[in-house]
């Protein structure tokens, strides 16, 4: 617990540094944000100074960059993340709504990945080099090599267009979630399988498993009680890595399937140069990725005495 708190204490300064970067960099490129906003709004290349000043005041773009940053930071600490340049609605609630959807998507995919990967890895480890093992290993290589942006259209083509069983795009009903979750689950499922397989093989070769066998335990009990349980530890440690990959993957999945999640929100904000939305969305995702990394690391240390000893 103390370790968790100590690691988490590292995060605020990192997040603060990230916020400075996210906030400052767009302003360093010299792009005139007020002008960009006005151009998308009125399509006029040379707006009058009065309008410029009004828009600047409305979006908090007046004053120096440092001033703007601290005003933004103070407001952000109060929970006010600003107003979208495009929709003029508060950014905070938009990010919140989108985050709920993205989290649901990611959690469902993670559950599916473990449900697929755990048994596949354990059974493959039972007879290394056997038929099942080679199939699973091959599928694993394919699984980490197929990007979401390839898998999604192919799944749509096969399951939505040809078989006509599922809707191709959209969000709202459980049927809409099937293809996105499936797409997003393939990468973590492949990684889980490989890890579980490698770990189970290592565990099955260790002395305590031989003892268990000698005591007369059946193959199945040895495999599940001794092999699989230890292997789970190593998967936990790598789940932090999954999260980074899955956040990236969910951007693609949400864009392809038209899901109003955080990834698509951010993608659209970037294409529209909607600064408040980019800042809020990016900070949220960075925060989640960092917290997930720390939690996974600490969870592993809590479960694995050897790693704990090494990290001293």
């Amino acid at each position: 617990m103390r370790r968790l708190l100590r690691r988490l204490a590292l995060l605020p300064p990192v997040l603060l540094a990230a916020s400075v970067l996210v906030f400052a960099l767009p302003r360093l490129t010299g792009a005139d944000t007020v002008r960009t906003v006005l151009r998308t709004r009125t399509a006029s290349e040379a707006p009058d100074p009065v309008t410029q000043a009004r828009v600047a005041a409305e979006f908090g773009l007046d004053g120096s960059a440092v001033e703007q940053y601290f005003r933004w930071l103070a407001a952000a600490c109060r929970g006010d993340l600003g107003v979208s340049f495009v929709t003029r609605t508060p950014v905070g609630s938009a990010v919140g709504d989108a985050l709920t959807i993205s989290l649901l998507l990611t959690v469902l995919a993670l559950v599916l990945a473990v449900l697929l990967g755990l048994p596949a890895g354990v059974y493959a480890a039972r007879r290394p080099g056997g038929m099942l093992d080679r199939t699973v290993t091959g599928a694993g290589v394919l699984g980490v090599s197929v990007p979401e942006f390839v898998l999604a259209p192919v799944l749509v083509l096969v399951l939505a267009v040809h078989a006509g069983m599922l809707p191709a795009v959209g969000w709202g009903t459980p049927a809409h979630a099937v293809l996105p979750v499936l797409t997003l689950a393939v990468y973590p499922a492949a990684l889980t399988t490989q890890l579980i397989r490698a770990e189970t093989i290592a565990v099955l070769a260790s002395p305590h498993v031989r003892t268990a066998r000698a005591k007369g335990l059946t193959d199945g009990r040895v495999l599940w009680l001794h092999g699989a349980r230890l292997a789970t530890t190593s998967v936990l440690s790598l789940s932090g890595m999954f999260v980074a990959g899955m956040i990236g993957g969910s951007v693609v999945v949400e864009v392809v399937f038209g899901i109003p999640g955080l990834g698509r929100l951010l993608h659209e904000a970037v294409l529209a140069q909607d600064l408040p939305m980019i800042q809020a969305g990016a900070m949220t995702v960075i925060g989640i990725a960092l917290v997930a990394g720390v939690v996974a690391e600490v969870a592993q240390l809590a479960l694995d005495p050897v790693a704990r000893e090494r990290s001293r």
Partner: protein, 248 residues
Amino acid sequence: MRRLLLLLLVLVFGLSYLPDPLAVDYGAILAPPSAAHLLGTDQLGRDVAARLIAGARLTLGLTLATLAVTAVSGTVLGAVAGHLGLRAVPRIADVVAALPTILVGLITAAILGPGLPSVVVAVCAVGWSPFTRQAYHLTVRETGREYVEAARSLGAGPVRVITRHIAPNIAGPVLAHLCLRFAGTLLTVSGLSFLGLGVQPPVAEWGAMVADGRTYLFSSPHLVLAPAVAVVLTASLATALGRSALRE
């Protein structure tokens, strides 16, 4: 290895024989694969096979270039930090490695505008961290060994110890890691282009080709399938190569 050479051969031949990837032929729009157009044509009548090869040059070149930069800088940083015991370096690398590259790509695209520079900056900004972590841990392990102590007691400085003694001993795992990162980098680079944040039209790039073809998924699936197969094949070949290198 032989399979990789074969792929290289296809690239070289393709570059010299196929038609112009930007040549527009309105007489043959969305044509299915035929003798004239091996993989058919796209919505502007451009030869898909030619675009695939042109895309290979760009996608693979970009992947290899960014991978080389990040691997060298990351490994050097990790080795130096490991040898000198700079514990902050792997900590920072841990934090950076937790960032999704696609997200960083979104942010750099917001700053620099969508395009190749934004992709390169994003991939390099995150890509060094896994190499640093690996090199750090390997170097810490090697530094504790007797041969390093022996070299040091003979008067070798840190630079000489790292380059002449430690480097050869950690090169194997680092190279295998490089092969394994190839697929991830390739998928990130083309994924960013797929999202419209990388190369801009009309330049041919695999991810961008998949994105373009999605509009015609129902009528002309070959537009998506050709670049999709290319991406998956290249990524899985590189992964398999890395695996076998790791086993040796």
